[in-house]
Amino acid sequence: MKDPGTTLVEGALPPSAAGAEQPEPWGKTTVVGTRQPRIDGYDRVSGKAVYPSDVILPDMLFGAILRCPHPHATVKKAVTAKAEAMPGVRAVISGASPAADVDWHYDPKLATKLFDPRCRFEGEAVAAVAAETPQQAWDAARAIEVEYEVLPFVADERRALDPAAPRIHDGGNRFDEPDRYRRGDPDAGFAAADKVVELSFHTAAELHTPMELHGCVARWDGARLTLWESTQGVYPVQQRVAATLDLPLSSVRVIGHYMGGGFGSKLQADKYDIVAAVLAKVTARPVKLFLTREETLLCVGNRPPSTMRVRIGAKKDGTLTAVEFTGLGASGAYPAGGAALLDWLARDLYACPNVRCETTDVAINAGPARPFRAPGHPQGAWALEQAIDALAEALAIDPLELRLKNLTTVSQTRPGAPPFTSTGLRRCLVEGAAAFGWAQARGRARSEGVVRRGVGMAAGMWVAGGGGPPSTVVVKLFADGSANLNMGASDIGTGTRTVMAMVVAEELGTPLDRIQVENADTGTTQYATASGGSKTVPTEAPAVRAAALAVKRQLLAIAGDELKLPPSELRIEGDAVVSVRDPKLKRKIAEMQGFRRRGVLVGVGVRGPNPEGKVVNPFAAQFCEVEVNTRTGEVRVLRFLSANESGRVMNRLTYDSQVIGGVTMGIGLALTEERVLDRQTGKMANRNWHDYKIPTALDVPTEIVSLPIDAPDAEANSAGAKGLGEPVTIPTAAAVANAVHDAVGVRVTESPISPMRLLGLLAERRKRG
């Protein structure tokens, strides 16, 4: 079985880097683990940093894509003559243009074109324009006359498998056989249970809304294409664009020095890259093509909607005897892992010998999904962790105790049940509960007033987060003691550049302000997989460390020559190399003649393999307190605590940023976010930042406590770190839902917990008495 933890990110299949020398784990660190402001913080907030959407080139044109306004239609004709004659228009391309006759396969099994006549989702590309100004490009795009044959659609994944539902693909609306998993004897497990709970759940589709829009600038220099792309991974974009345009990889350079967020929606190339490249080719001018916010909400990803059922059985003492999970997710118009990993927590979070899971991915007429911060997991946690809460109530056991009762140290769902290198879940639960004051909060008298308080908790783990090869990093130390770090990985806003500079500083003693980071450029930086799957730190930090140590060895050798001492008796201290025996014997780096003659010391580091037969996953437990107004259905999250075990804490400041951001995003899933597709037309009703409601500062508590369980994982990799960005958002929504249940006794099984939904449920309960 291919481990799902390693295949989440395009291009992440690891060739063996065995043999690469890996350093011993760190002991005490002096830079790593401290609180360091971002090295590029000033550039980012002052506007000095050039993001791809800031790129302006001489002679640059602007592109715009005309998109299908129907959820399902066939393009009969696209007449471009009027658009071509408009002022400033330099090119109009459509399905009829030879230059745009390019295959774009959303899936290897489904042959589709760049401008395919069959539009299976609202927002599918139909034609495109390049013009002197963005305004001219948009005016011309809208002047293209398209004749559509509008086809029946299906927008609700719960109806996709209805025999009467319109067929989106010839093979029907189910992309594949359901994914089935079984271990032990679930029926016997349920039969042996003293209590069984069974609940159904639904999570709404969430939309990615990174600050920077999706898009690129494309420029040809002869046969060589350069793309400035807002991306999480320059190499995956290079691969897809080169393959699509039939270019050698060496002829496609992708640059993404800065990027303004992606959350999984920018792990891959998109049609807009090809459209921009074709427009740039036919006009012989650079073309800038960034989508509008509305386009990004329609076309470039989402967290798929999911429908789930969970059944759990347990003994009186809380020991789980069986877990059953059924999930249905919707990839959208093309296969995109719509149900992927929905059942992962049901399989692997708690010790249980008998488990049965089935997940099904269906097609609907909506934009294809993309990975969204911990694909499948927050949805699965929404179901499993609420079901665990319900089980705890049925058994009259504290939810914390029930979880502690069922912990495991092995990955039960992987073949051979390999052990985790480290499992901090017990510490997350115990230390998190203590810091939150769980016992006191649970013991408090229940309020019967209009406004009621409740506390909730949930646990989680992330299927990946261990990272792994390949990665190659180059560190250069200059003769004045300043350093240059060259790596292919993108900093997607998590602080990767800063963390990696800290690794260099740890090994070479170089002050952070004397380290220059060059990254995310296929033309000048080394190979890296996309920054996704919470694997960037555990993948890149060991490679950076190895590169820095390679430099260090050379530096000590030079110093040893000059001081007439063996390198093993030397260490770096500040800006000098000193003898470990006699601190007076020292040589300043900037004064080493041998170094001057060499000019620069170059160290190459590669990411070594992960430990054989073990699994590297991060864990989390979260606790929150809410206040619910039973008159109005308003929910306020009063305080939140996230206890995370992600191995070593590399930089406490960026660590806490991830925690706060992930909790905020999880509160969005819990309380406010929901894509709405109009049932009459299939069109998205809320394609803007007002109607699609991401949480504001007033929707999250001022008190979000980050409680790191700082436990360096010596087995995982030479940095001892595991991923953090995704695990922080996995239990959040479930914790909020459990707190709402604690407050008012209503279990909200469908997200989001809006006043609309909550008032409806409270009214139902009143009716029932």
Binding site: P69, T632, A685, P755
Partner: protein, 323 residues
């Protein structure tokens, strides 16, 4: 992308009204909604008449009869920050403070808040709905969780303003200037229900603009407030809200006003609920009676029945806050 339009910046109100006489002209005040509507093709414009510089439309000043005159260009932030409004007309101050976000309140004007177009996603989106000259109201059989439970008839928008319910409750007068001179319209008569005309939300005729809002002196013993519930903590319109005022003398309600937001295509006054309070002390029992009366006759659509409970709840909360 914005359409092409000409842009004029007249120096006087009279000149502005002259400019507005041409068909296709639109007023540009704060512009927070106008530019979005143009960009999204909710409506078009051939000419924008910028009124931001008109001194006549600015300022908060006492009126001769002890009331207050608020220029249409006064920003929501100014209203929310005015000590005079907060102490004498708290419902209005709270309404202004509950609108939008700090940035939008700094830029958005009172006139714009009162005259803004509906936020219905069918009206704003690519749907050829009745209000835009189409055949039907898509909310009837569509996604209607945010739509009205009163007064819809043919178009089920809710009026988006948070200041309008307060002004109706406060018996404000709106001054309208146009080619034929100026006129005063009671706030309650300014807004137009779909049953009367479903293509507009107020009585402004082409070429007319709202210039001032005039508030009468509050009666002695007057109290007031605005309570709003929204799906998100900021930058969101009311799911349901209530502007309330009550004149209390000798421990009894002499007169009360209850005006709902998020409930109807116009600020929705509920006189029957108001009457239940008169002659009673303002207490839990009378408030509950009034809240129940406030939602009587509500006609929910498929997905907004929650609004009946919600509106009952906000009326209760708004009134209890006056106790």
């Amino acid at each position: 992308m914005l359409p092409n339009f000409s842009y004029v910046r007249p120096a006087t109100l009279a000149a502005a009204i002259e400019q507005l006489a041409a068909a296709g002209s639109r007023v540009h005040a704060g512009g927070t909604d106008l530019l979005g509507c143009l960009r999204d093709e909710v409506f078009g414009a051939d000419k924008l008449v910028a009124i931001g510089g008109l001194a006549e439309l600015k300022g908060i000043a006492p009126s001769a009869d002890g009331g207050l005159r608020i220029g249409a260009l006064v920003t929501l932030a100014e209203i929310a920050a005015s000590r005079e409004i907060a102490s004498r007309y708290p419902a209005l101050a709270q309404g202004a403070a509950a609108a939008a976000s700090p940035q939008l309140r700094n830029q958005g004007t009172l006139g714009g808040n009162l005259c803004q177009r509906p936020r219905c996603w069918y009206f704003r989106g690519q749907f050829h709905c009745a209000r835009k000259g189409g055949e039907k109201c898509f909310a009837v059989e569509g996604e209607n969780q945010f739509h009205c439970v009163f007064g819809g008839e043919v178009c089920f928008i809710v009026h988006p303003s948070d200041t309008a319910p307060a002004l109706v409750a406060l018996d404000a007068l709106f001054r309208i200037a146009g080619p034929g001179g100026s006129r005063l319209v009671p706030a309650a008569k300014f807004f137009v229900l779909p049953g009367v005309d479903y293509t507009r939300e107020n009585v402004l005729r082409p070429g007319e603009i709202l210039t001032d809002v005039v508030l009468p002196a509050p009666p002695p013993g007057a109290r007031g407030g605005y309570r709003k519930v929204r799906a998100r903590g900021a930058w969101d319109f009311a799911l349901g809200g209530a502007a309330v005022t009550a004149e209390i003398a000798a421990g009894q309600v002499k007169q009360a006003r209850i005006v709902l937001s998020g409930a109807a295509p116009a600020p929705w006054r509920v006189p029957e609920a108001e009457r239940t309070l008169v002659g009673s002390p303002l207490d839990a029992a009378s408030v509950a009676r009034a809240a129940e009366a406030a939602v009587r006759g509500a006609q929910p659509l498929s997905a907004n029945a929650y609004k009946v409970d919600l509106l009952r709840g906000v009326v209760e909360e708004a009134l209890l806050a006056l106790v």
